[in-house]
C-alpha cells in the first residue's frame, strides 16, 4: 500500500545524513550506519535505504543485502511499542512459546504484525541473556522476567493507557 506516499514523507534528517557522511570515510561502516537509521525510524524505510546507498556511493543492492541478512534490521514500521518475546532455550523450556501464543490471541495479531491501533507489534528474539528469569519478554527497552499468562494483561495495560 501507499509506498509512493511513504517515500515522499520519509527522508533522512540532516543529523543522520551528517553522521552517514562522516562514517562514509571509515571502511566497513555500513552496519553502523544502518543501526543509526533504524534508531531514528525504528525500521529502515525504503527511501532511507536508497538515500544511504546514495550518500555512501554504494549499490542499493549491497545495502539491501546487508539489511536482509541480519535479524536486527526491520523493513516495516513496528508498532509504537515493540514486544519482543524471548525464544532462547531456557525461555522455550519454561513456556516462552505458550506466552507468545497467548500474546498473539490477546492482541489478535501474528509475529511481525502491528495491532490495528498501532500500539503494539510482536516480535521474537533469540536470547536476551536473562535466562535466569525465564520466560522473558521485552517491551521497548524494558525487560520483564518470570512472565506468566496471568501477568500479561497488567503488563500490557502499562502501555495501553498512554
Amino acid at each position: 500500500m501507499d509506498v509512493e506516499a511513504e517515500e515522499k514523507t520519509v527522508s533522512l534528517p540532516p543529523a543522520v545524513k551528517k553522521y552517514i557522511e562522516k562514517q562514509k570515510a571509515i571502511p566497513g561502516s555500513l552496519i553502523k550506519v544502518l543501526h543509526k537509521v533504524q534508531e531514528h525510524f525504528s525500521y529502515i524505510p525504503r527511501s532511507a535505504a536508497f538515500e544511504v546507498a546514495d550518500i555512501m556511493e554504494i549499490p542499493v543492492a549491497k545495502v539491501y543485502g546487508v539489511i536482509t541478512f541480519y535479524h536486527a534490521f526491520k523493513l516495516e514500521a513496528p508498532g509504537q511499542h515493540t514486544i519482543s518475546v524471548c525464544m532462547g532455550t531456557a525461555c522455550y523450556l519454561k513456556g516462552g512459546e505458550n506466552l507468545l501464543e497467548e500474546l498473539k490471541s490477546m492482541l489478535g495479531v501474528d509475529v511481525g504484525e502491528i495491532t490495528p491501533d498501532g500500539v503494539f507489534s510482536i516480535h521474537t528474539v533469540r536470547c536476551l541473556g536473562c535466562c535466569g528469569l525465564a520466560p522473558v519478554m521485552m517491551i521497548g527497552d524494558k525487560v520483564y522476567g518470570n512472565v506468566t499468562k496471568e501477568k500479561l494483561p497488567a503488563i500490557l495495560a502499562e502501555y495501553q493507557e498512554n
Binding site: 566497513g28 541478512f69 535479524h71 532455550t89 531456557a90 533469540r126 541473556g129 525487560v143
Partner: protein, 626 residues
C-alpha cells in the same frame, strides 16, 4: 557524565576521572594502593541486565532515598555487575566494618528500606529468606573458583579506579616493562589456556601464528557476539568487568605486534556496549589505551563494531566479514584469520571469556593457572546453568568439576524436586549429557567423547517433563534459521533433518528415518563449509545416541513419554469425574469443549489446540492427557 551519587563525592581520595591526566607508572601504583572503601559502610547493588530486569534500579533508588532520609551521607553505594545468582535477583551486598558481610537476594524496595533501617542503622543484619549468605567469601561457595568473574559483582564497572585497585592494569604493565613478547607466549603456553568460545584451541598457539606472520598491520578482535541461546557469561563479564577485556586485548596487541583492537559485539547487549564505551573512554584518559602506554612506546587503540543479529557471525570468518560491514558469510579456511583476517591482515580472534583470564594469568603466572583443572583442560570455566534448575545462574568452576557437583551441590538440584533427565551443553552445536554421566568430570575431551562440546558454556537442564525430540527440534529450527545458506550441506541438510524431526514429533515418523538422520548428519559434519553447518547435526546424533528409546517411542509406538509433543498427546475428560462445572469450557481459548452446566463435558479433538488450559482449570482431576 559521572555516574557517582552524591555520597561518593564526600569520600576522601575519590578522584574525578575527568580531572586526571595520563598516568605514569608511579601514579598507577599509587592509585592501586588507595583503599577508599575500607572504612566506609558499603552497599553494592548488582546492576547487570538481569538484575535491572528484576528491579535492581528500584532497589537502588530505595537505598539512596532511605539513606538520605536517615542523613547517612558517608555510606558508599555502588552499582556493580552481576554476581551470578540470577535466581535471586535483585541482589545486594552489605558490608559494615567490623561485621560479617551479608549478601541479600530478592531485594525489592521494601527489603532495601529494611536493610538500611535494621542492618545499617540498627547493626542487626536481616534474617530469613532474603539473607542468602554471610561471611568473608560470600560471592561463591567452596566448589567454585573465580578467575574470569573475579571482579563481577565486586567493582563498579563504570569506574576505572575500582578496577585498578583490584590489581587492574598490573598485567599490561608487567608485560610492557618486564616481559618480551615471547615471555608472554611462554607464560600462556605454560598456563594451558584454551579458547573458551567453543573449539578449545590453545590460545598461545593462536597468538604465535599471528606473531610470526609478517605484516605492516595486525589486529586483535574480541568476539563478543555471544549467540548461543542460553549462554550469557560474556554479557555478564562485559557488564561487570569491561576493563579486564581491554587490558587483555592490549596484552595481545603487545605480544603479536598489533596496535588496533576491535570488539565485535551484538547489538542486543546495550548495557554491555555502554559500559565498554565508558571503559574505553576512561582507559584513554588515563593513557592506558592510546599512544605510548605508560611511557613504554607501545600504542594500542580499541574500537567497537556492532553485530546485527546473526548466529553464524560466531564463526571467525563470518565475524570478520560482518565487522567489515558486509553480510556475515563464512569463507573456507585456510587461510586462517591468524594469517589473513580483518582487512586481509593477520588477526587474533579471541572470545570474551578467553580474554578475561589473560591478565590474571600474567599476574599470577602460567604455572598457577596450569595447576587448576585437569590434564588437558586447564583453569576454570564459566557456565550459565539454566532451564529446570533450582538456582539458575552463572557459576565458575575449575575444569574437572563433575556435572553432579554443578547441578546438585552448587545449583540446588532440579526445580520443584523433579527427576533429572539430561543437560544440553554447547547449545545448538552441542549435545545431551544423560543421567548416567552425571559423575563425569567436565573438560574438553570428556565432553567430546560423550558427543557434546563445552562450547561457550551454556548448560540447559532438562527434567522429566521435557521431551528430547522436542528440544532437539528446537535446536534444529534455530540452526536452520541461522544458516547463511552459502553451502548446500548446511542449507538443505539442516532443513531436511528438521523436517524429519517435525514428522517424528507429529507421529508421522518412519523407522527408516532414524538411519537416514544419522547418515545425513555425518554428511553435514564432513561437508559443511563452516562450524555452524558442521555442528548443526550434533544435537541429533547425541540424542540418538543417548535417548534412542525415546525416539523409538515416538516413531514406533506413536507416543511421547514426556507428553510434550502436541501431535502425540490428547486431552480427554473422564466422564466419571466430571461434575459439569463448566470451568474448562470457560477457559478453553478455542471453544473446543462442549457441555451444559451439571452435564458431562466433552473435548472436540478436531478443534483442540492442546494448550492444556482445561487441565489447569479443572479442580476435580477430570481432565487427563496422554
Amino acid at each position: 557524565m559521572s555516574p557517582k551519587k552524591s555520597f561518593r563525592r564526600s569520600l576522601p581520595n575519590t578522584r574525578r576521572i575527568d580531572a586526571m591526566a595520563k598516568l605514569t607508572r608511579e601514579a598507577l601504583e599509587n592509585l592501586r594502593k588507595e583503599n577508599v572503601h575500607e572504612e566506609a559502610i558499603t552497599i553494592m547493588v548488582g546492576m547487570g541486565s538481569c538484575g535491572i530486569a528484576a528491579g535492581a534500579k528500584d532497589a537502588y533508588d530505595a537505598f539512596v532515598e532511605e539513606l538520605a532520609k536517615a542523613g547517612l551521607d558517608d555510606v558508599v553505594i555502588k552499582k556493580t555487575g552481576c554476581i551470578g545468582l540470577c535466581y535471586s535477583e535483585p541482589n545486594a551486598e552489605v558490608a559494615v566494618p567490623g561485621m560479617p558481610r551479608v549478601l541479600y537476594g530478592n531485594v525489592d524496595c521494601a527489603v532495601a528500606r529494611d536493610i538500611v533501617k535494621k542492618h545499617i542503622i540498627g547493626k542487626t543484619p536481616l534474617e530469613g529468606p532474603n539473607a542468602l549468605r554471610s561471611g568473608e567469601n560470600i560471592e561463591i561457595d567452596e566448589k567454585q573458583q573465580r578467575i574470569v568473574l573475579r571482579n563481577c559483582g565486586v567493582i563498579d564497572p563504570e569506574n576505572i579506579d575500582d578496577y585498578i585497585r583490584r590489581e587492574g592494569y598490573c598485567a599490561i604493565e608487567k608485560a610492557l616493562f618486564e616481559m618480551s613478547a615471547d615471555d608472554v607466549l611462554g607464560e600462556l603456553k605454560t598456563s594451558g589456556l584454551r579458547g573458551r568460545g567453543g573449539a578449545g584451541f590453545p590460545t598461545w598457539l593462536k597468538w604465535s601464528f599471528t606473531k610470526e606472520a609478517s605484516s605492516d598491520e595486525k589486529y586483535i578482535v574480541c568476539n563478543a557476539d555471544e549467540g548461543d541461546p542460553g549462554a550469557y557469561m560474556d554479557r555478564s563479564t562485559l557488564e561487570g568487568d569491561p576493563h579486564a577485556i581491554l587490558e587483555a586485548m592490549a596484552i595481545a596487541g603487545y605480544t603479536v605486534g598489533a596496535s588496533t583492537g576491535v570488539i565485535y559485539i551484538r547489538i542486543e547487549y546495550p548495557l554491555a556496549i555502554k559500559r565498554l564505551e565508558i571503559a574505553i573512554e576512561q582507559a584513554k584518559e588515563y593513557g592506558l589505551l592510546g599512544k605510548d602506554i605508560l611511557g613504554s612506546g607501545f600504542d594500542f587503540d580499541i574500537e567497537i563494531r556492532f553485530g546485527a543479529g546473526a548466529f553464524v557471525c560466531g564463526e571467525e570468518t563470518a565475524l570478520l566479514a560482518s565487522a567489515e560491514g558486509e553480510r556475515g558469510m563464512p569463507v573456507p579456511r585456510p587461510p586462517f584469520p591468524a594469517v589473513k583476517g580483518l582487512w586481509g591482515k593477520p588477526t587474533v580472534i579471541n572470545n570474551v571469556e578467553t580474554l578475561a583470564s589473560i591478565a590474571t594469568i600474567l599476574r599470577n603466572g602460567g604455572e598457577w593457572f596450569g595447576s587448576i583443572g585437569t590434564e588437558t583442560s586447564k583453569g576454570t570455566k564459566v557456565f550459565a546453568v539454566t532451564g529446570k534448575i533450582a538456582h539458575s545462574g552463572l557459576i565458575e568452576v575449575p575444569m574437572g568439576t563433575t556435572f553432579r557437583d554443578v547441578i546438585y551441590t552448587i545449583c540446588g538440584g532440579i526445580l520443584g524436586g523433579k527427576e533429572f533427565k539430561a543437560i544440553q551443553t554447547g547449545g545448538p552445536s552441542g549435545g545431551l549429557i544423560p543421567a548416567d554421566q552425571l559423575d563425569t568430570p567436565i573438560d574438553y575431551e570428556n565432553l567430546q567423547a560423550l558427543g557434546s562440546i563445552v562450547g561457550s558454556g551454556g548448560m540447559i537442564v532438562l527434567d522429566e517433563d521435557d521431551c528430547v525430540v522436542d528440544v532437539i527440534k528446537f535446536y534444529l529450527e534455530f540452526s536452520v534459521d541461522e544458516s547463511c545458506g552459502k553451502c548446500s550441506p548446511c542449507r538443505i541438510g539442516g532443513r531436511t533433518l528438521y523436517n524429519m524431526l517435525r514428522r517424528i514429533s507429529q507421529g508421522a515418523g518412519k523407522l527408516e528415518d532414524i538411519p537416514k538422520m544419522k547418515e545425513l548428519s555425518h554428511t553435514m559434519q564432513k561437508a559443511s563449509l563452516c562450524g555452524l553447518g558442521q555442528t548443526t547435526p550434533n544435537p541429533v546424533l547425541s540424542a540418538l545416541r543417548h535417548f534412542e528409546e525415546e525416539f523409538m517411542a515416538h516413531v514406533v509406538d506413536k507416543h511421547c513419554p514426556a507428553k510434550k509433543c502436541k501431535g502425540l498427546v490428547s486431552y480427554r475428560i473422564i466422564p466419571e469425574k466430571c461434575i459439569g462445572c463448566t470451568l474448562c469450557a470457560q477457559k478453553c481459548p478455542v471453544d473446543a469443549i462442549a457441555g451444559k452446566p451439571r452435564e458431562k463435558h466433552v473435548i472436540d479433538q478436531e478443534k483442540c489446540i492442546k494448550c492444556g488450559e482445561c487441565l489447569k482449570a479443572c479442580k476435580f482431576g477430570a481432565v487427563k492427557y496422554e
